[in-house]
Amino acid sequence: MMHQKVVLRVVSKLLIPPILLFALYVQWHGDFGPGGGFQAGVIFGSAFVLYAILFGVGVARRVAPPWLMRLCLVAGVLLYGGTGVASLLLGGNYLDYNVLAHDPLHGQHLGIILVEFGVGITVAAAMITIFNVFAGQSGDEE
C-alpha cells in the first residue's frame, strides 16, 4: 500500500540517518549548548516513529524489537540510579559526582554524561514503546 508514496519513502530514508546523528549530537553536546538527555531521547525516538509510520510497524519492530526497547527502558533508569550508587560506594553522597574521578570537575563531567545518557536511553525507549503499542492496536497493516 506504500508503493505510491515513493517521494516520502526516499526523503525519509535520506532524513532518518541525519536525525539519529543529530540526536546523538544533542545528547553529547548538551553540556555546552542547548540539549541533553531529554531532548536527545525524544529526537531519537521520533526517528523511529517516522520509520514506523512510513514502512509499517512490523518492519520497525524488527529494527527495534519490543524486548530490546523494554530492556533499554529499564537500563536507562538503572544507569541513572547506578551512577548514584557508584558515588555512594566511592564514599560520597548519593548522586554526588565529585568522587567519581580524582578531580572533582572531571567527576562532575563523568557523572553528568552518564546520567544524561541514562535519561536519553529511557526517554527514547519510552517514546518508541508507547508509539509501537498505539500503532500496534490497529493491526500491523499500517
Binding site: F32, G33, P34, G36, F38, G41, V42, V123, A126, I130, V133, F134, Q137
Partner: protein, 143 residues
C-alpha cells in the same frame, strides 16, 4: 519586497509603540500574565465543558502549556541572555525554572500518552469516547 515592507510598516510601528509601552515606567508590566491566564481559562473550559475525552486531553495540554509559559516568563530578566556561560555576558535569565519546565514537558508527554491509552481502552470497552454516553451506558448496566 518593498511592497511587503510597506505593508508591514504600520504593524511594525504599532509593535514598537506597544513594546515601548510595556517597558515604560507607567505600564502595568503584567500583560504577559493576563494572556497566560486567558490561555489557562481556555484550557480549563475545554476540560470541563466538553464531553469528548480526546478533547479533554487537548485541553489539559493547553492548560499545561499555560503553566509552562508562566514559569518561563517569570524566569526572564530584561536584558538577560540564555543561561549558557560565555565571555562578555553579564546578565543571564534565571536557569532554575527552565530546568523544572524542561523535565515537566517530557513528563507531560508521558502522562498524555498514558491518558490517550486509557481513552483507547475506554473506546474498546464502551464503543464511545463521549463522557455522557459512557455515563448512560454505566447507568443502563446498573439498572
Amino acid at each position: 519586497m518593498d511592497g511587503l515592507n510597506s505593508f508591514f510598516e504600520p504593524l511594525q510601528g504599532a509593535w514598537q509603540a506597544f513594546e515601548a509601552f510595556m517597558l515604560s515606567e507607567g505600564s502595568p508590566g503584567l500583560f504577559s500574565y493576563w494572556v497566560i491566564i486567558a490561555l489557562m481559562m481556555a484550557g480549563f473550559y475545554i476540560v470541563i465543558a466538553h464531553d469528548n475525552l480526546v478533547k479533554k486531553i487537548v485541553g489539559l495540554n493547553v492548560f499545561q502549556v499555560s503553566v509552562f509559559l508562566f514559569y518561563i516568563t517569570m524566569a526572564k530578566v530584561s536584558g538577560g541572555s540564555a543561561p549558557i556561560l560565555a565571555e562578555g555576558i553579564e546578565q543571564y535569565s534565571n536557569p532554575l525554572p527552565h530546568v523544572l519546565i524542561l523535565t515537566a514537558i517530557v513528563v507531560g508527554v508521558a502522562t498524555t500518552a498514558l491518558g490517550l491509552a486509557l481513552v483507547v481502552r475506554i473506546r474498546n470497552a464502551y464503543g464511545t469516547i463521549e463522557d455522557d454516553e459512557i455515563q448512560a451506558i454505566e447507568e443502563g448496566e446498573d439498572a
